[in-house]
Every structure is written in structure tokens, then in C-alpha cells.
């Protein structure tokens, strides 16, 4: 087996739209993904698309519009030649990151030279849990906690790690404030691509052409406050603390990253953004899945031989404020470098896309800050954590 280095040469994302009533509510995730792939390729014009080996996309509920092997459909919709293969991977909320890790492995092991990886999810079209959740009868009979709802796991984590409602709401407010500040300062400009959607909608009693241009995340709110957040009811448990305001938003979005081997990088004279140094997943009890990063982060740090002190920037997916705070406290993370541009509570969490979205956000912010090592991590439904360490090569 030949071992070689893999480099990230392009990493982009669409704006994240609200589901199920946002501007992208009718846009299929295959088209969203194809838009991201096309934009990622545009940023490396010297790369010959005929050299792409495979398109690997993450998706948490790969069914209906995002079924039929999303990865291959995206490759076709992005206008790539038939020779480019496609695959879909699912690790729920870490699917996008998992796709990038797989692409990286394919290059490192010498199986491939050019890979496109990413994630896409339309929660407007395919709801959380899918259209038809059919749990395993034996597990339901013996250990139903495997099918614990995500909101309930957040309640369990809040209870177990004593995360107060006030702390959760304050965390949520800060996510919005940071996302608004980042948007206003244009800090997402390098990673964001433009969505141009043409639709024919039934308006005022007749079909009418509607053109939608989306280049800004829909989720962040300038009008929220601690008072407003404190008024929201707990939705998952009677008397609980997890609300719509301190949970991630349901969203639509896609992101794509291009990875190449050292040989191809030199051949096409490409400029590397960074590289994936290591990736790890770990299991935790399903009913407290939010704590997943606590298991995965030490594993990946050990793998790459770094410590938390070496990490200059962290993207910790905000599935819920409760689990984010539990992870921050348990791992002893420096809050000043966690989600500096806001997280999923403000920006939204298009499940299978998120891992690829935070990769793009992390790489561009590392470049801006001149940080060498960055960490992307998230909890995963069913009781898992995933974590990846990236190295900035633009220093």
C-alpha cells in the first residue's frame, strides 16, 4: 500500500436556510450539494474534473429526495463526467465530517488522488427521523433508550451534568451574537457560495416565477434576548430546560471540500488550505449522546500526538446548549476559542451537512487567525462523538 499526503484545496458551503419554512424549503439536497460541488471546483480552476475519482457525501436521512445514492446524483447534477463515482455515507450529525475523513483516507492510502467530499441535508423535505421511522423490535423491547429522541438526550445531559436553564439560554444568546457579528464583519464571505434558485410558485392564484438568491445564513437573530429565551417553554420533557431557543435550528444546507494528493497538488500547482491530521469516533450511552465529544476528542488528540493546549480554534457543533456546555466543562475547553463565529443554535444544523459546514468554517477562520491546529467535533445521534484535527497550511 502506498502512503501519501492529502491536502485540502477548496472548502465551501451554502448559506444555511431555516427548515421547513426558509428560502430553500423546496430545494432538494442533491441540487444543494451539486451547487456546493460546482462552487468548490470553481475555486480550483486549474484542477481537471476528469481527474476526480469519487464524490462522497454525508447525509443523515438518505431517503426520498436525498435517497438513490445522493453522492452519485450530486456528481451527475454537478456536471462531472460519468467516470466520476459517487457514494453516500451516514453517521448522522457527523456525516459530512465522516465523508471528508473517508476521502482523506482514500488519498492517504493511495487508492485515489482527487476526492470531493461534503454533506447535504434538506430538513424541510425530509424530517428528523425520516418519513417512516421503523425501529428494531428487539432493541425497542430490550433497550428502547437507543431510540431516545435527541431532545430527551439533551434533557438527560442537562440533568446529569447540572447545566442550568439560565446557562443554556445565555449560551444560546451568545451563539446568536457571535453569528451576527461574524456575518456583519463578512467573516463567512470566503466560505459562502451563492445560491440562485428559480422556482415557479402558486402566488395570488396563479403560477409565478420566483427567483431566490441566498448568500447569508437565515438563522441568526438580532432580536433575541435573555428575556425572550427565558419565556420559551421546554418542549421535550414536562418541566425540563431544553427549549426551541437553546437547541440547534432545523435547517437546509450543503458544503463541499476538495482533497488532492501531493502529486496532483504539484501537477496542477494548487495552493493547499490545510490538511486533516486525524479523525476519531467513539461511542457513549445513547441516552446521553450529547456528551460524545468527551470520548472522541481525547481519542483524536492522542492519535495525532497533540494536546488541547496545541489547539487554537474549535468548532463544537451546538446540537443543544446543554450538551455543548457539558462538553466544554468536562473537557475544560477554552470558551474564547470555541465557536467564535457562532454555532448551530444560531446558524442552524442541517444534520448530514454540518460536519462539512464546520470544516469550511474552521479552515477559513484558522487561516484568518493564523492558527496552526484546529479541532472540529460533534455529538452524534445513537450515542457517539466524532472529532477531527486540521492543520492550517496557509500560515
Amino acid at each position: 500500500m502506498m502512503m501519501q499526503n492529502a491536502y485540502i484545496v477548496s472548502s465551501v458551503r451554502t448559506a444555511i436556510a431555516k427548515a421547513p419554512r426558509g428560502k430553500l424549503r423546496n430545494m432538494r439536497s442533491d441540487n444543494l450539494g451539486a451547487t456546493a460541488v460546482e462552487a468548490a471546483l470553481e475555486r480550483v480552476p486549474d484542477l481537471d474534473p476528469n481527474d476526480v475519482d469519487d464524490v462522497v457525501f454525508g447525509c443523515a436521512f438518505p431517503e426520498a429526495e436525498q435517497g438513490f445514492n445522493l453522492g452519485r446524483v450530486i456528481a451527475q447534477r454537478a456536471g462531472l463526467p460519468d467516470s466520476v463515482a459517487g457514494a453516500t455515507v451516514n453517521r448522522f450529525c457527523a456525516s459530512g465530517l465522516q465523508a471528508i475523513a473517508l476521502a482523506n483516507q482514500a488519498i492517504v492510502t493511495g487508492q485515489s488522488d482527487v476526492m470531493i467530499a461534503g454533506g447535504a441535508e434538506s430538513m424541510s423535505l425530509i424530517p428528523m427521523g425520516g418519513h417512516d421511522l421503523l425501529p428494531n423490535p428487539e432493541l425497542i423491547a430490550e433497550t428502547p433508550k437507543v431510540y431516545c429522541t435527541m431532545g430527551m438526550t439533551a434533557e438527560n445531559v442537562a440533568h446529569l451534568y447540572e447545566i442550568s436553564r439560565a446557562d443554556q439560554d445565555a449560551f444560546a444568546l451568545r451563539s446568536h451574537q457571535r453569528a451576527i457579528a461574524a456575518t456583519q464583519a463578512g467573516r463567512f464571505n470566503d466560505e459562502l457560495i451563492r445560491i440562485n434558485l428559480r422556482e415557479t410558485l402558486y402566488l395570488d392564484g396563479k403560477p409565478q416565477p420566483v427567483e431566490t438568491i441566498l448568500q447569508t445564513d437565515e438563522g441568526p437573530r438580532t432580536d433575541t434576548s435573555l428575556e425572550a429565551l427565558a419565556h420559551l417553554p421546554a418542549v421535550f420533557r414536562v418541566g425540563g430546560s431544553v427549549t426551541a431557543g437553546n437547541s440547534s435550528q432545523t435547517s437546509d444546507g450543503a458544503a463541499a471540500t476538495i482533497l488532492v494528493s501531493e502529486a496532483k497538488m504539484k501537477e496542477f500547482k494548487l495552493q493547499p488550505l490545510g490538511r486533516l491530521l486525524g479523525f476519531a469516533v467513539a461511542g457513549v450511552p445513547p441516552e446521553i449522546m450529547g456528551i460524545g465529544p468527551v470520548a472522541a476528542v481525547p481519542k483524536v488528540l492522542h492519535q495525532v500526538g497533540l494536546s488541547l493546549d496545541d489547539i487554537g480554534l474549535i468548532e463544537l457543533n451546538e446540537a443543544f446548549a446543554a450538551q455543548s456546555l457539558a462538553v466544554i466543562r468536562k473537557l475544560g475547553l477554552n470558551e474564547e476559542i470555541v465557536n467564535v463565529n457562532g454555532g448551530a443554535i444560531a446558524l442552524g444544523h442541517p444534520l448530514g451537512c454540518t460536519g462539512a459546514r464546520v470544516t469550511a468554517t474552521l479552515l477559513h477562520e484558522m487561516k484568518r487567525r493564523g492558527v496552526r491546529y484546529g479541532l472540529a467535533t460533534m455529538c452524534v445521534g445513537g450515542g457517539m462523538g466524532a472529532a477531527a484535527v486540521f492543520e492550517n497550511l496557509m500560515m
Binding site: D132, L134, P135, P137, I140, P144, V238, G240
Partner: protein
């Protein structure tokens, strides 16, 4: 030939306007709801906000959520031209004569020459609203006074002006009764029309007994509530709900508008009330009125200090002796009994009866209309003149004379003819049920048990009834009754008795018999039609689900509520819901059946009761060909017609469904996961979840590990096997005992 309205418009999206629009949409009409344009933002903002607020009202104003889509929102600026396409316009804007008159002027310019226009004003003179309009407009103009909430209160007062074309009035009455299910009373164009005029008088008498005669708020409410056949909210609680400011406004208005009224002084607002309004004490909308709820305690206001105090013990000992008597005996006794309670009742009743007598012909043409208005608009069990007759026509007359009251000349004899009970002899009867001949070869089986429960006697009766139907020359059977509520379900007390004495064999036999009775009803060779309204619960629901044809009042509240008493349906209710789920699915594919099964599961597991017959269809309790009537009192007559119709076309009972798709273990896991999530979230107790898993077991075919087509009998057997063991569970027994004692479900 009378033509029903199809498209209507309501002007003004306030509390009344929105609710009237909702009720017209309930009746199947297309409704335009318009209000003034917002001055900032989008012009429709105002109407949309008002409508959204109305959508949150409880009880719900629409029959189903989707009904609301039939209301098209608009504003006077942009969409006034829509009014050119409607059959009837109802004006319900702010109570300001000038604004209403201007609106009428604008309206006249745009509506079609046959469009009818009405105003819902409750205070302004009707004829003034149309003043200045053409003859043709005024001929098509009248007052249509709905009562709040218009979906639930039966009264509709129609107020013609001198100019109103009698044909228009006739058409409106016909439409109101048949299509809107209203009780229509024709009123005169006098201040506050009929019901509010009398109602205000009676309310103020009650308030003045408090301010002037030393009766406490609680005493007045005791003496003016259910005791005398009036709503539980009686006097003060009703004013709290209506608003003290509204009451004051109407009373002040009446005092001004009725200078000829010989009892005008009654409408003079007591200072106490005026002061309360001045300090913002307006009733429920301001958090406190005559009453104030503090934690679990209900306090009432002290008229001198305006402080809220706990209720003093009632000084009305004498009413205890007849509280449990039937209404007529109760009021007769109250009228005779010496002491404070009797004094209050005699005094206020004589004043009210005398006042009502003097209002004819001023506000109504006959005493019956006043009685109807008070029954339908104020929820009284008997109207003023019915009360007069009940107390003894001559007795009341003599008492009025003794009290120096003048009695109008037209009062000469009792207001109602006492007809001897001419009801025909039942064909068959026992102490709790009867079989009657409806004529034309149709039978009526009527429950007469307490709460119309399916007691042993009622169930036994079915055997005789079906025997008569089978062997004699009858064409069909209607199952129904005159009561407000069709049936409260199984007789819990009888079942609890058997369970407590350990007589489970008897219960097992009962369940088998009940199941086979319902199967017999469904597959009987002659048509059997259920005629239902109001509450139809538990076993009552299962009976209706078994009937091949149903005629339902729109106001039907039906549900399988067994889990509330720790049970699951055991008489075919589950089997039929599963059968309907697979019938409604597009194919036999499990993923097509699953959503319907899931809905049925959640409906039964949460003891959901429909809020209307239309919703009951959506939930799967009623078949899609159920005849739904806005005017529920016609249900027996229509059910009879339905039975005759089925007979005429050559009746064939529905085929037995012995290929019901059940989903087995994989499908059961889906339902068990839902129960798990409900319980984890604290939305269901551990025992609720246990009951839900038993329900899921039956719904998915028991032990099957894969989907299968099964027979009705197979599912009925599963129902029985799952039902009986629950009765010996202590938590189920606790639930039953609690329900029998408190009439409320226990969440253990």
C-alpha cells in the same frame, strides 16, 4: 324556491366577526373576512393578526383545522371588490353608527342587486344603520344578531326593519335554522332586542340583591345557577366572563335607549360596579372581577372595601332539602319555601316575569319567542313563561297583584297548553331502554339509562330489538335518543362491581356478548343507523363504529377514552380502527399503512375525543359517508330517512373484512417507541405507557413477527385477551374508582 347562500362576507375581524366567519365556514360556505387596512406594514396585517387570535380561542371555533382555509382574509382598501361576488354580507365592525353607515354606503355601490346585507350590532337601532340607502338596499337589509360564541350558542335573533322584505326574512330564517343549525327568533328593532334585554334585567336584579339587600355574591350565584335551571356561571361569574365594562356599557345604553321602560331604574348601574370599572377591575380579561382566583382559592370582592375575601358560608340552609329534586319540583319548592332563599327567588322571579309580560308586543310577538331566546341565548333550561306556567299560572298572577304589580291585559291564560303525554306506547321496553315505532316501518331504539350508558339492561334490550327487527315487517332501525349526549359508554359502576367481587367470568361473558352483539348489528340484514350528537364515549363509540351508517350532529364529541379508566377498547373499537387504517392506506405496503395506524394509536392512547363530527371523520371514528347535520335536532328524522333510503336501494350489509393488514412486531416497535418517548418526556405515566403497549400489541396483531392479513374475529379475540387482565390490575381499579367518584380521569 329558497336559495341557500354559498359565498358570504363578514366585515370586521374582531371577536364576533372572526367567530361568525368561522361558523359560516363550518357550515361549508366560502367566507371572505375583511377588516380595515393596516396603516403601517402590509395592509392585511390587521385582519391576519385578528384572525390568528381567534384561531387560538377555546373551545375551538372551527370544526377542523382545515376548515379555517375556507376563510379568505382581506382588507377594505385592496379587496373591497370581492364583495361584488357574495350572496350575503354580515357587518360586524366597531359599534359606531357613523362608521357603519359609511360602510353601508360603500357597500351599496359594489354589491349585486340580490345580495343580502345584515348587521350584527347588539346595541344600535338596526334601521339607522341602513339610513340613507336606497329602497332596494333597505329591503334586503336586516339585523342578524349572533350570540358569543356563535358556534356553540344556538340563538340567532333576526331583526327586520319596517323596510325588510318578508321574503328576505323568511329566507334568512330558513337558512339560519337548516344550514347554520341556529335557533332563530324574530325580534323587534328595540334596544338590545330580546335575549339581552331580559338577560340584562335579570342580571342587574341579581347584582342589586348583593348591593342593596345583603345577599353575598356566592349566595346570588347559588340562587341563580343550576339550582333554577340556569348555567353554572349564574350571575356574577357570567359578568366576570363577559366583562364588567361591557355590562356597564350595555346597562347605561339601555337606560338611555328605553325611556318608556317602566322598570328603567333597574338598568341604573350600581355605584359599586361603576367604581370597579373605573379602577380597571373588568373581570376575567383583567385577572379579577367579582371573583378572583388566588392559587386554588376563589375569593370574592367586598362591596365596601373592594378587598377580595374568602367566601362566607352560605346562609341558605333551606335549599338543601330540594337540591336533588327534578328541576320543576325544585323551582316549585323554592318558590314556596320561607326564608332568604325563597324570598330572593320569589322577588326576582315575579319581577322578571312581570317585566317579560310587559315586553310583549314591544320586543317580541309572543311569549314563546322570549322563552326560546332565553333558552338558546342564555342557556336557561326553561324560559320565563315556561317558568310562570310551572309555578302555577294563577298563583303567579295572584302574587303579582298582591305585590301591586300591573299585569298586561293579554295575560289571560297559561302560556302553553298542557298536552297529556300522547307519546305512543313503546313496542318493547324495560326500565332502561325502549323500542319505538318512528312510522313508515322504521324502529327507534332509545337508551334511557343514566348518562345513556350501555348498561346490562340496555344490552339485554338489543337482543329483543334485533329479534323484532328480524322477524317483523320493519324496514330498518335507528339507534338514538333525544338527549344532549348520545352515550357515556359502558356502565362503569356495573363493571367495577363485578371486578371487585372477583366475578371475572361474568365480565368475560359480557365482553364476548357485547362484541358479538356489535358484530351482529354491523352485519344485520336490515339497515341499522346510529343517530348521534354530543358525547359518544368508550363503548358508545364502539357501538357507533359498528353501525353501518351514521347520522351525526356536527357537534359530536366522540372518542375511545378507555385508557382514562385504565382499560383499552374491548368491543371492536381497536379492530375497527385498524381495519380503517388499512382501508385508508394507498396500498398494502407497511409504510403506507403506518401513518394511519400511528394516528389511530395516538388517538386511542391519549383518549382523544373529537371536537366535531368532521374531526371524528378525520380521526377515523366515523366513516367517510357519515351524514353530518348542522342542525343536530334533525338527526332522528334524517336517520329514519337514511334507513328508508338504504332499504329502498336494496340493502346489503357491508362485507366482513377478514383481510385486515396488521403489521406485526416491526409495526409494534414503532408504536412502542412513541409510547416510550411520551413517557420519557413526562407526557404519559409509566402506567399510561404500559396501557399503550397493550394497545400496540392488539393493533399490530399480537405475537406476529411479520405483517399479515388477519380476520376481524382474530383481532376481537386479541382485544378480549388484553382487556380482561387489565381489570385485575390495581392501577386500573384505582382509575375506575376515581372516575366513578370524581368523574375525572386519574393519572397514576
Amino acid at each position: 324556491m329558497l336559495k341557500p347562500f354559498r359565498t358570504v362576507a363578514v366585515l370586521g375581524a374582531g371577536v364576533m366577526g372572526s367567530q361568525i366567519a368561522a361558523h359560516l365556514a363550518n357550515a361549508g360556505l366560502t367566507v371572505h373576512l375583511l377588516d380595515v387596512a393596516a396603516t403601517t406594514g402590509r395592509k392585511n396585517d390587521l385582519v391576519e393578526t385578528a384572525f390568528k387570535k381567534a384561531l387560538k380561542l377555546s373551545p375551538p371555533i372551527f370544526f377542523t383545522e382545515k376548515t379555517a382555509r375556507r376563510v379568505i382574509l382581506g382588507n377594505f382598501d385592496e379587496y373591497f371588490d370581492r364583495l361584488s361576488g357574495v350572496d350575503w354580507v354580515i357587518e360586524a365592525v366597531v359599534e359606531n353608527l357613523q362608521i357603519k353607515q359609511q360602510l353601508m354606503q360603500r357597500l351599496e355601490a359594489i354589491i349585486q342587486p340580490e345580495t343580502i346585507v345584515s348587521t350584527n350590532t347588539s346595541g344600535l337601532p338596526i334601521h339607522l344603520v341602513a339610513q340613507g340607502r336606497s329602497d332596494s338596499f333597505r329591503q334586503r337589509f336586516l339585523g342578524t344578531h349572533f350570540f358569543n360564541p356563535p358556534r356553540y350558542l344556538k340563538l340567532l335573533e333576526l331583526i327586520p326593519t319596517q323596510d325588510t322584505d318578508p321574503n328576505v326574512l323568511h329566507r334568512m330564517k330558513w337558512f339560519g335554522e337548516l344550514y347554520l343549525g341556529k335557533g332563530v327568533v324574530i325580534a323587534k328593532d328595540t334596544p338590545n332586542f330580546i335575549a339581552n334585554r331580559i338577560g340584562m334585567f335579570v342580571t342587574l336584579l341579581g347584582i342589586k340583591a348583593w348591593t342593596e339587600q345583603g345577599y353575598s355574591i356566592e349566595e346570588v350565584d347559588t340562587l341563580t345557577g343550576t339550582l333554577i335551571g340556569r348555567p353554572k356561571s349564574a350571575t356574577f361569574r357570567t359578568v366576570d366572563l363577559v366583562g364588567l365594562d361591557t355590562l356597564m356599557y350595555v346597562a347605561d345604553h339601555l337606560y338611555q335607549a328605553a325611556p318608556e321602560d317602566e322598570h328603567r331604574d333597574v338598568f341604573r348601574v350600581p355605584d359599586v360596579l361603576r367604581k370597579m370599572v373605573a379602577t380597571g377591575t373588568l373581570g376575567a380579561k383583567s385577572g379579577q372581577g367579582f371573583y378572583k382566583k388566588q392559587k386554588s382559592q376563589i375569593l370574592s370582592v367586598n362591596p365596601k372595601t373592594f378587598a377580595y375575601e374568602p367566601a362566607q358560608p352560605l346562609n341558605l340552609e333551606e335549599i338543601k332539602q330540594f337540591e336533588t329534586l327534578p328541576l320543576r319540583h325544585r323551582i316549585q319548592s323554592l318558590y314556596q319555601v320561607p326564608g332568604r332563599a325563597g324570598d330572593f327567588f320569589r322577588q326576582t322571579t315575579l319581577a322578571m316575569l312581570n317585566y317579560s309580560a310587559h315586553r310583549i308586543p314591544e320586543i317580541a310577538d309572543n311569549p314563546q319567542d322570549i322563552d326560546r331566546a332565553m333558552r338558546w341565548g342564555f342557556g336557561w333550561d326553561i324560559g320565563p313563561f315556561e317558568l310562570w306556567d310551572a309555578l302555577g299560572f294563577e298563583t303567579v298572577l295572584a302574587d303579582m297583584k298582591a305585590a301591586n304589580m300591573t299585569v298586561p291585559e293579554w295575560v289571560q291564560k297559561p302560556f302553553y297548553e298542557t298536552t297529556p303525554a300522547t307519546s305512543k306506547q313503546p313496542i318493547w321496553q324495560n326500565s332502561e331502554a325502549a323500542l319505538l315505532d318512528m312510522g313508515d316501518g322504521v324502529l327507534l331504539y332509545e337508551f334511557r339509562s343514566k348518562g345513556n350508558t350501555l348498561s346490562n339492561k340496555v344490552l339485554e334490550g338489543f337482543a329483543s330489538v334485533l329479534e323484532i327487527l328480524a322477524t317483523r315487517d320493519y324496514k330498518g332501525l335507528v339507534i338514538g335518543n333525544d338527549s344532549a349526549h348520545f352515550s357515556g359508554g359502558a356502565n362503569l359502576a356495573e363493571m367495577a362491581m363485578m371486578a371487585q367481587t372477583g366475578n371475572f367470568d361474568a365480565i368475560a361473558t359480557l365482553i364476548v356478548e357485547f362484541q358479538s352483539l356489535l358484530q351482529r348489528i354491523r352485519y344485520f340484514p336490515k339497515p341499522i343507523v346510529a343517530a348521534i350528537q354530543g358525547r359518544v364515549l368508550g363503548g358508545g363509540c364502539e357501538l357507533v363504529m359498528a353501525c353501518p351508517q351514521v347520522v351525526a350532529a356536527a357537534e359530536t364529541y366522540i372518542g375511545l377514552v378507555e385508557v382514562g379508566v385504565g382499560l383499552i377498547p374491548g368491543a371492536g373499537g381497536i379492530m375497527r380502527m385498524v381495519s380503517r387504517a388499512s382501508e385508508r392506506a394507498a396500498t398494502d405496503s407497511t409504510s403506507h399503512i403506518q401513518p394511519f395506524l400511528r394516528m389511530a394509536f395516538e388517538t386511542i392512547a391519549t383518549a382523544k375525543v373529537s371536537t366535531s363530527a368532521y374531526e371524528a371523520k378525520e380521526l377515523g371514528f366515523l366513516p367517510c359517508d357519515t351524514r353530518i347535520l348542522m342542525s343536530g335536532e334533525r338527526r332522528l328524522e334524517i336517520a329514519k330517512a337514511e334507513a328508508l333510503h338504504l332499504d329502498q336501494i336494496g340493502y346489503v350489509p357491508p362485507p366482513k373484512n377478514d383481510s385486515i393488514m396488521v403489521l406485526g412486531g416491526p409495526g409494534r416497535a414503532v408504536l412502542e417507541q412513541i409510547a416510550y418517548v411520551f413517557q420519557q418526556g413526562g407526557f404519559a405515566s409509566e402506567y399510561d405507557r404500559y396501557l399503550a403497549t397493550r394497545l400496540a400489541y392488539v393493533m399490530t396483531g399480537g405475537e406476529l413477527s411479520a405483517p399479515a392479513l388477519v380476520s376481524e374475529d382474530y383481532l376481537l379475540q386479541l382485544e378480549r385477551e388484553s382487556f380482561l387482565p387489565l381489570l385485575s390490575q390495581s392501577k386500573t381499579q384505582d382509575r375506575i374508582v376515581h372516575m366513578l367518584k370524581t368523574k375525572k380521569p386519574l393519572r397514576n
